[in-house]
């Protein structure tokens, strides 16, 4: 057995344990433990995806999805884990868009976990179309990205502001995999009354 196979099996096993842990915590209303278990699992997912991205075997399964559903699901999941308000703005979201839901969910979840650490009161998730691209944004009301970070080229940035940069690296990879008929998917970071993470997916 190769290391990578063993790693995959181990990750699978640990995720099962985390799932059981999260479920038990949820039953007794312990949102904090649910949060820790789910973030730990998300980190493992990213680790596995990183390996695949490096090997060039990260594949996408693009299909018609409902952006509003995804954001509402994420907001509900996160809302139970935090005292902050998680707001959703999907009034202008298209009914359907084409993307790999598992990968996009992973990217947004990581952006939300990051926003949770910096928000003061509210995190806002939004989906809308701009220039023929679907934009998923995660916005917090904290102090924003440090200017030095916004000036760095995308490949060098660390999304978590203090982490490994894995999250942003994967977000860029996932965005690129969604390019379609000459239009590129991309990730943008900007400040606007807090930090805004934006995932752009072409039509």
């Amino acid at each position: 057995m190769q290391f990578v196979d063993l790693a995959a099996l181990t990750i699978h096993d640990v995720k099962n344990r985390l799932a059981i842990l999260a479920s038990r915590a949820e039953t007794r209303g312990d949102g904090e433990t649910v949060h820790d278990a789910l973030t730990a699992a998300a980190t493992l997912t990213q680790l596995l995806l990183f390996y695949k991205a490096e090997k060039g075997s990260l594949s996408v399964d693009i299909d018609a999805r409902v952006p509003a559903d995804l954001l509402e699901e994420l907001a509900m999941e996160i809302g139970k884990q935090t005292a902050l308000t998680v707001a959703v703005s999907v009034g202008e979201a298209p009914t359907l868009w084409f993307y790999d839901e598992a990968l996009v969910r992973m990217v947004l979840l990581n952006a939300i976990y990051n926003a949770l650490r910096h928000a003061v009161k509210t995190i806002t998730l939004s989906a809308h179309v701009r220039d023929d691209c679907l934009e998923f944004t995660v916005q917090d009301d904290g102090s924003g990205y440090p200017p030095a970070m916004l000036e760095q080229p995308m490949a060098m940035r660390s999304l978590s502001r203090e982490g490994t940069g894995l999250g942003l690296y994967l977000a860029s990879k996932v965005a690129a995999l969604h390019s379609n008929s000459g239009q590129e998917g991309s990730v943008e970071l900007r400040n606007a009354q807090g930090a805004v993470f934006c995932l752009r997916l072409p039509k």
């Binding site: 995959a8 990750i11 699978h12 995720k15 099962n16 985390l18 799932a19 059981i20 842990l21 999260a22 479920s23 038990r24 949820e26 039953t27 649910v34 278990a37 789910l38 699992a41 997912t45 596995l48 995806l49 695949k52 990260l58 594949s59 399964d61 693009i62 299909d63 018609a64 409902v66 559903d69 509402e72 699901e73 509900m76 999941e77 139970k80 009914t95 359907l96 084409f98 598992a102 990968l103 969910r105 379609n180 008929s181 039509k203």
Partner: protein
């Protein structure tokens, strides 16, 4: 806002091999207010549950103990029609990307749920999926019935509404066009979908449509491009392999299926597909290699298929190992009662016994093989029974069976060629040259004679002749539909006869089930309505 779908009345099955996961899922499902929840730890137990319960929702973990996985379980349920399309199947996995090796669209789960998830997420997901099932309920029912023309119309209604189910309806409509035999319409439709977005399922659909239309070369090109873009789409390899075979390129077919197996080494369907091509090619070593793995993997699983064992036995016999084949087949027959009278297995066993030098055991096996009505079996099985007759030296019986095969499948030139080869190999060279042509001539003559009789006013006799032929050749749609028409014409002319009317209805239904677009059906309908208006007082 989403309307709430109550699931207190929904019946749910949970299948997971880990006890902690089962109880965790159970408590999550329980917290949603579901009361009818069944839990299984393995496929065997789950299949038992299906005998006494109908489930609305199945939550199944991808990893299952005992050499099987959730995908194999789902394929088994769908291909055996144990669950209809209205049943919600959710696959629970740790990594979607890790396992999502895509098979045929009808064997895809309705959704993947990635572990870990909270009860709230499960609830929201189930609500949305149940809403979707509700919206597609009519389409699902029509699909289950095989009423493809109805499916197309029902999908058009949803497509026109342009709601969130638009693309689901498109996917189903494309398949329905193909199933209804509307290849040209399907090509147009898929091209239209592809301008919206180059989705892999639409590209595959286009390739299928091109193949159905007869543009094999274009279809091969489309599939090669699709495989380069979506190397995990197994259905594309299967179709490409089939096309290579049709074009007479067995080596390319095997190479295609081999590359699919490299990507999805654990899939039973992969090994079975390779075995089928190798059989055509006469490469029984490959057949043995592929099926040996399938049989080993499914030996103690309820997902085992009798056919795998029969085909493996056949390969062993062909390789000159009839004793090994006999051991394999006898063991299977002892361990699984339902296999005891399986005609394919019995026929293969008869041949193996004959080659191994046990003519008496061969005789007994052959008797079992010929026990039932051969006309109701697939051509490949009947062919094996004929071969078993030949190996036992029963030339007359074999030729009778082959004659029926030709007459039941008058357009299957591949089958005709196979029959000639088998006869030639058995040493009956002279018959090999004539049997196919003779059988077809006999059938045409019978049809012609019936027409002559009918024109001469002997309608009852014509109907009788065709009825007899239709009962002997239930797969020959021309004969069966002609029999229905002749019976009805006789009734219309000569008076109502309940027995004849019953037979005509039976034949009409057989054609509708097997060839819903058969041109003769319109004439049959017309005759029915003429009979109704002529005899309407009688019916009241």
């Amino acid at each position: 806002m989403a309307t709430l779908t109550p699931y207190s009345n929904k019946s749910i099955l949970i299948l997971d091999d880990l006890p902690e996961m089962r109880s965790s899922l159970r408590s999550q499902v329980g917290s949603l207010g579901c009361e009818r929840v069944a839990v299984s730890s393995n496929v065997k137990d789950a299949l038992e549950q299906f005998k006494s319960n109908a489930f609305d929702v199945i939550l199944c973990d991808y990893y299952l103990a005992g050499g099987t996985d959730g995908q194999q379980f789902l394929e088994f349920l769908r291909t055996r029609n144990i669950i209809g399309r209205g049943v919600l199947f959710v696959m629970i996995t740790a990594e979607k990307n890790y396992e999502s090796i895509v098979t045929a669209a009808e064997c895809l789960p309705d959704d993947y749920l990635l572990k870990p998830f909270t009860a709230d997420v499960l609830k929201m997901r189930l609500e949305r999926l149940l809403e979707k099932k509700q919206r597609l309920a009519r389409v699902d029912q029509l699909q289950d019935k095989g009423d493809w023309v109805g499916v197309i119309a029902a999908c058009d209604v949803i497509i026109a509404a342009k709601d969130r189910y638009l693309v689901d309806a498109m996917r189903i409509k494309g398949n329905a066009l193909l199933m209804a035999g509307q290849a040209v319409e399907a090509i147009d439709f898929y091209q239209q979908v592809l301008t919206m977005r180059p989705l892999p399922w639409a590209k595959l659909g286009l390739a299928r449509a091109l193949q159905k239309k007869g543009d094999a070369t274009l279809s091969v090109a489309a599939l090669s491009e699709l495989i380069a873009e979506s190397p995990r789409l197994m259905a594309a390899y299967d179709l490409l392999g089939k096309l290579h075979l049709e074009l007479g390129n067995a080596d390319a077919a095997l190479a295609t299926l081999d590359s699919a197996r490299t990507i999805s080494p654990n899939s039973l369907a992969r090994h079975r597909a390779i075995a089928s091509v190798a059989e055509v090619q006469g490469d029984f070593q490959r057949v043995e290699q592929a099926l040996d793995q399938v049989v080993k993997k499914t030996r103690n699983s309820p997902l085992r298929e009798t056919e795998d064992i029969a085909r493996l036995g056949n390969a062993l016999t062909e390789m000159g190992e009839p004793a090994k084949a006999v051991t394999l087949l006898e063991e299977a027959r002892k361990n699984f009662k339902e296999d005891a009278n399986n005609p394919l297995m019995a026929a293969v066993e008869a041949i193996a016994h004959q080659k191994a030098g046990n003519p008496e055991k061969a005789e007994a096996a052959l008797e079992r093989a010929m026990n039932g009505d051969l006309a109701k079996l697939p051509p490949a099985v009947v062919m094996t029974v004929a071969k078993a007759c030949l190996s036992a030296g029963k030339q007359t019986a074999a030729q009778e069976i082959m004659k029926n095969l030709v007459q039941s499948n008058p357009e299957s030139t591949g089958l005709h060629a196979q029959i000639s080869t088998v006869l030639r190999d058995s040493g009956a060279g002279d018959v090999a040259e004539t049997l196919v042509a003779e059988s077809i001539r006999e059938m045409i003559q019978l049809n012609n004679e019936a027409v002559v009789r009918a024109r001469a006013g002997e309608l009852a006799l014509a109907a009788e002749m065709l009825t007899e032929a239709a009962l002997r050749l239930p797969a020959n749609m021309q004969v069966v539909s002609n029999a229905a028409a002749a019976l009805l014409f006789d009734i219309w002319k000569n008076g109502l006869d309940p027995a004849k009317l019953g037979k005509a209805q039976m034949f009409q239904q057989a054609v509708m089930a097997q060839a819903p677009r058969h041109p003769k059906l319109a004439e049959i309908d017309e005759l029915f309505s003429r009979i109704r208006s002529k005899y309407s007082p009688v019916q009241k």
